[in-house]
Symmetry: C2
Subunit: 281 residues, 2 copies
C-alpha cells in the first residue's frame, strides 16, 4: 500500500472531496507516497486548515493544485444576496492566487426560491460572470463554468449542458472564462462531444474531471457518483475526445459517494489512481 | 368531494399511475363523478382486469383512453431478447386497438448490461421502430416516443431529450411515430421549446403530459414526480407553448410519487384536477 502506483500518473489529479476522510496533511503525504502529482482542493477544508498554511503544505510537497472548488451560486435576484455572492467569489479568486492554482470551478446556482424562470437565472449568471471575469483575469485565474447534470437544475445549477456553459463562457476572453468537462454531468448528452471539441478549439477546457455513472441513485442524488470503471461512462473515450480537442492539462477524479467515504482513505486513493490508469489511459 | 370539479376539464386526462391506489372501476367511477373525460391507462393493471372488460368499462362510462403506457424497451442486442421485445410491442399495439386509444407511449429502454454505448443503443431503438411503425400505422395506432430525463439514461431510456425523440420520429410518417412532451423530463432543457414547436408543426406531438419537478429526489429517483403546482416547472407556459405549436389534444397528468400514493385516491384525483385548472389553464 505504501509504494508508488504503477502507470503514468503525470496528468492525474485527485479531487480532495473524493477522499474527504483524509485530512489535508494526510492527503498530501499519501499523494507524495503514491506518486500523485496534483490535487483539486475545496475552499471549506482549505480555510479550516488556513489558506496560507495549506498553500505551504502543498507547495513543500511539490503538489500542483489543479483546481479550487468552488465559486459560483450567482442566481440570486436581490441586490444584497447578489453583492454577497460576488464578494465571496472575489475571495475565492484570491484564494486561488494564494494556493497557486489558475482555475476556479464555478457552480452557477439553482433557481431562487419560488422562481420557475430558468432563462432569467442563467442570464443573472452571465451578468455576474461579467463582473468577476476581469477581476479573475487580472490575477491570472480562470473561471471554469461547470454544467451540472440536469437533475440539479432546480436546486444547484441552472447550467445543465456543456453547450450552455460554453455559450456563457464565449462572452468573455478564454483566459478569463472557460468550462469544466466532467463526465458525470454530461455523459448522456449527444451534443456534448461537439461542444467539447468547440471548447477545446477555443482553449476553454479549463478542467477535465472524471466520475462514473451508477444507478440506483441515492436519496437526494448528490452522493452517488460512481467509482471510475464501475458505471456506464466510457471514460477512455471521453479522455481521448478531450485530448483530441487539444486539451493537455490535468485529469481530475472527483467523486461524491457515501459508500466510498466509508472506506479507508489511503486505500481508496490508491484504488482511484489505479483505476484511472486502467480505465482512462 | 362528490360533485364535478369546476373549471374547463375538456382536455384533462388522468394517467392511471397517478392514482394507482384506485382500482380501475373506482377510477372510472370517480372520473364520471368529477367530470373528467380522459384516462391514460397502463398495460399491467389493464391486463390484470382483462383488456376487453377494461375496454367495455371505460367505453360504457364515456371515457376517452388518451394513451396506453407503455411500449418500448427496445435496446437489447441479442436476437431472442429483441424478438421478444418486438412481440411484446405488437401486443401493446393490439391492446391500444382494443381499448380504443390511438397512442402508445414508448419508453425506449436503457443500456444493455455492461454496455457503455449510448449511440448504438439509440440506433437499435430506431431499427425497432422501423419494424413496429408500419404495424402500428395499419391499426391506426401512433407510437409516441417519450424522452426521459437524463437521470434515466443508463437504466431506463437512452432517449434523453425532445430533440433526440423527434430525430427518431422524423424517420417515419407522423401518423406512425411522434413524441411525448412530458414537462417532468424536459423542463430543464433550453432546446426543448424549439423542439416542441418543430414537433407540433409536423403533427408529431402525440401526447402532452404534465408533472412538476421537486427536490430532494427520493432514492432511485423514480417516484418523486411533483404534484402540479408544487415545483419548479412553469406548467402554464408549457401548455401555452404546446398549444402554440398547434397541439389541441388531451393534457394528461402523470405522477409517480410514494407520498401521493399514500393519500386517499379520490381526494388526490380531485386535487390533481383542481390543480390542473389552477396551474395549467
Amino acid at each position: 500500500m505504501s509504494g508508488r502506483v504503477s502507470g503514468d500518473l503525470s496528468r492525474f489529479s485527485i479531487n480532495q472531496m473524493t477522499v474527504k476522510q483524509l485530512s489535508l496533511p494526510e492527503l498530501v503525504q499519501a499523494c507524495a507516497r503514491f506518486g500523485i502529482p496534483g490535487v483539486g482542493l475545496w475552499r471549506e477544508p482549505v480555510r479550516a486548515y488556513g489558506v496560507e498554511a495549506a498553500a505551504r503544505l502543498v507547495r513543500d510537497a511539490g503538489l500542483r493544485v489543479t483546481t479550487l472548488c468552488r465559486g459560483g451560486f450567482l442566481t440570486a435576484g436581490e441586490p444584497e444576496a447578489r453583492a454577497a455572492a460576488l464578494d465571496d467569489n472575489r475571495a475565492a479568486i484570491d484564494e486561488c492566487v494564494a494556493l497557486g492554482t489558475d482555475t476556479l470551478v464555478m457552480v452557477s446556482g439553482g433557481l431562487p426560491g419560488g422562481s420557475k424562470d430558468l432563462p432569467a437565472a442563467r442570464e443573472r449568471v452571465a451578468r455576474a460572470l461579467g463582473e468577476l471575469a476581469p477581476y479573475a483575469g487580472e490575477r491570472g485565474v480562470r473561471l471554469a463554468v461547470e454544467p451540472l447534470h440536469p437533475m440539479f437544475a432546480s436546486d444547484r445549477c441552472v447550467v445543465s449542458t456543456l453547450d450552455q456553459a460554453l455559450e456563457l463562457a464565449e462572452r468573455f476572453p478564454a483566459e478569463q472564462v472557460g468550462v469544466v468537462v466532467d463526465t458525470y454531468h454530461i455523459w448522456w448528452d449527444d451534443r456534448a462531444p461537439t461542444a467539447a471539441a468547440r471548447a477545446g478549439a477555443q482553449g476553454r477546457i479549463h478542467s477535465f474531471q472524471l466520475a462514473d455513472w451508477e444507478t440506483p441513485l441515492p436519496e437526494g442524488v448528490l452522493n452517488g457518483r460512481g467509482l471510475i470503471g464501475d458505471g456506464a461512462v466510457d471514460l477512455r473515450q471521453w479522455r481521448e475526445r478531450v485530448d483530441a480537442a487539444g486539451y493537455t492539462g490535468p485529469i481530475e477524479v472527483e467523486l461524491f459517494n457515501d459508500r466510498l467515504w466509508a472506506r479507508d482513505g489511503e486505500e481508496l486513493l490508491r484504488d482511484v489512481a489505479e483505476r484511472y490508469v486502467r480505465h482512462a489511459l
